[in-house]
């Protein structure tokens, strides 16, 4: 492009009169550039979004072209559906634990890696590694590890004298949810970790130097420099972790399929099961409207809060 840069000063005056017309042409170009994206979003996101809402007032078996309107019957059924509410309760636990423990681990490990000089790249690589594995792979490996007789987890507990803690992890209603949450945390904490680490590296060094001049040490420096500087990252990581926890599906499906009973059932799996196992597409749509609506609200509230905080 350097070649075309050279004649610029000469050409500018001769071309100048034409410059107005291209703006309209460029405006058209703007739309043309956007068309593929908008078309795909319209057909595969906006239409389904509306369709889901419509479907929640209809009855559909997944095959027939006949989808009669049934008013609020699906919502009525959804509200009286015990597994659905069990799944909402479980996913709330997922959300809270993911939010507190998951973000906690991510942040502590980012602080730890940030404070050492040697091996940073190695630790970063290793910590993020679980995050590039699929939920199916992770589910299958942990199914085998958590197996009651042959699983390595029980063997290790026995070996260190904690045999009393051995469980049939995925089939015992008392611990199944705990086990699945543990797997989720293992899979997911590296994501927040990467973002926290990048956030820590962006905090200007002079802030720490100024704080040190004022006599700040470890905790005080964290409290008055690191924490507030990291706040924007913390709020986005929190939201993303929370949303990931609330939308959990594959991990649960592979590990327990929601069982035993409904003790690890989560909404996305319940929606899937109602639709594709029981062919109650209308009921499933009502559940997805209730649950999806709650997620949308949550995102809006969280984004609003963090935006207000940012502008304050």
């Amino acid at each position: 492009m350097t070649a075309s840069l050279t004649p610029l000063p000469v050409r500018r005056p001769t071309r100048a009169p034409h410059r107005r017309r291209p703006t309209r042409r460029r405006s058209l170009a703007g739309y043309l550039f956007l068309v593929p994206a908008l078309a795909l979003i319209a057909v595969f996101t906006l239409v389904p979004f509306v369709e889901a809402i419509l479907l929640s007032f209809q009855s559909w078996d997944g095959v027939s072209t006949d989808t009669p309107w049934v008013g609020l019957a699906n919502f009525d059924a959804a509200f009286r559906n015990a597994p659905f509410w069990a799944s909402m309760k479980n996913v709330l636990i997922f959300g809270v634990v993911g939010f507190v423990v998951g973000n906690g681990i991510s942040m502590i490990m980012a602080l730890a890696v940030h404070s050492v000089r040697k091996g940073r790249t190695f630790f970063r690589t290793v910590y993020y590694l679980p995050s590039v594995l699929s939920v199916v792979v992770v589910g299958m490996v942990f199914s085998a590890m958590l197996a009651p007789e042959s699983g390595i987890i029980n063997h290790m507990l026995g070996a260190v004298g904690l045999g009393g803690l051995e469980h049939d992890w995925l089939n015992d209603p008392d611990v199944a949810l705990l086990a699945v949450i543990g797997v989720f945390l293992w899979l997911h904490w590296g994501f927040g970790f990467i973002l926290f680490l990048a956030g820590l590296q962006d905090i200007p060094q002079y802030l720490y130097e100024a704080a040190e001049l004022d006599g700040a040490r470890g905790w005080t420096k964290f409290r008055y420099v690191t924490w507030p500087q990291l706040a924007p990252v913390t709020s986005i990581v929190s939201l993303l972790t929370l949303l990931a926890a609330l939308q959990i599906f594959g991990t649960v499906q592979v590990l327990t399929n929601g069982g035993p009973g409904y003790s690890t059932m989560v909404p996305t799996l319940q929606i899937y099961t109602q639709a594709f196992t029981y062919n109650n597409y209308g009921l499933a749509a009502a559940m997805s409207v209730i649950f999806g609506g709650a997620l949308v609200l949550l995102s809006i509230v969280q984004l609003g809060v963090s935006r207000r905080r940012a502008s304050a």
């Binding site: 550039f33 979003i41 000089r117 599906f249």
Partner: protein, 297 residues
């Protein structure tokens, strides 16, 4: 990653001047504790993967006893069995096709859109930007069912095209925003020069701006490649024909249809992550860039 190396060096240089005596002694046990934590976390992150490798090389008998990490006699045959019984050649090929097609589609569509939103002034730009942001808030659980219904209506359920279109669509919003901020940070001169030379917007985009955007494209491509390769929910919903399934869906189908022995399943799982691990080690930088760019938007 230059900043990674820079900041701590400065920190270290400053410490002796600021506080030469107090720093040196008490730091030792704390540092040992810190490294213990780091190593423990590294072991816990790696252990399941090491265990998967170990289990995939054991005999059924040994695996069920579960008392060793080192296979007495490595059963390489497990991998052959897994490859054949698990139909992995088909599933892996499908995953490659979907990943390649979807990533190319995402790059093309979202760089066009991102460029328009960053650099072309036209009416309604704010609305379109808002729309793309808003779409990101709609979660998968609210949509996957109706997406299936739309695919059925378009005769695209249980087809490669349908799956790739869904994959592209879900990658568009975040990728468009990343590309938009990437284009917005480029200098104006080249583009102006090209338009003064009479190049059309399309030509300017493809021959001037797109080559400049290579780092942005790379970050988007890497992040989306992982997302597509690991996608499971829509693959589960869309496909019932085994010959079309990507590897994630194929693995669960293998389990439910054949109930393979655990060591064979572990070998199949291990095979499925080989491309992922290799790609991860090669493309690390882009991953960090891409995740950060995506989250900040």
């Amino acid at each position: 990653m230059t900043t990674t190396i820079h900041v701590p060096e400065q920190a270290h240089l400053d410490v002796p001047h600021a506080d030469p005596v107090r720093r040196k002694k008490p730091i030792r046990p704390a540092k040992a504790g810190l490294y213990a934590l780091l190593v423990a976390a590294a072991i816990s992150a790696l252990f399941p993967i090491v265990w998967m490798l170990s289990g995939s090389l054991q005999s059924l008998h040994q695996l069920l006893k579960g008392d060793t990490l080192i296979p007495v006699v490595p059963q390489w045959g497990n991998y052959l069995t897994a490859w054949i019984e698990g139909n992995l050649a088909v599933y892996l090929t499908n995953s490659m096709i979907y990943t390649l097609a979807a990533v190319i589609g995402i790059l093309l569509v979202s760089s066009l859109a991102g460029y328009a939103l960053a650099r072309i002034s036209f009416k309604g730009k704010g609305i379109f930007t808002g729309l793309i942001l808003a779409v990101m808030i709609i979660p998968a659980p609210a949509m996957f069912l109706a997406q299936y219904k739309v695919l059925l209506a378009l005769d695209l359920a249980n087809t490669r095209q349908g799956y790739v279109l869904i994959l592209i669509t879900s990658g568009i919003p975040i990728s468009t925003l990343i590309m938009r901020s990437f284009f917005a940070s480029q200098p104006l001169d080249l583009e102006e020069a090209a338009s003064l030379d009479g190049a059309s917007a399309m030509r300017t985009f493809f021959s001037v701006m797109l080559p400049l955007a290579r780092p942005g494209l790379a970050a988007v491509a890497v992040i989306q490649a992982f997302a597509v390769w690991n996608e499971y929910l829509m693959a589960l919903v869309i496909f019932n024909d085994n010959s079309l399934m990507p590897v994630q869906r194929g693995l669960t189908s293998f389990v439910s249809a054949e109930t393979p022995q655990p060591q064979i399943l572990l070998a199949a799982t291990m095979i499925s992550i080989v491309p992922v691990i290799i790609f991860y080690l090669i493309a690390q930088r882009q991953i960090v860039d891409g995740i950060s760019a995506g989250a900040v938007k």
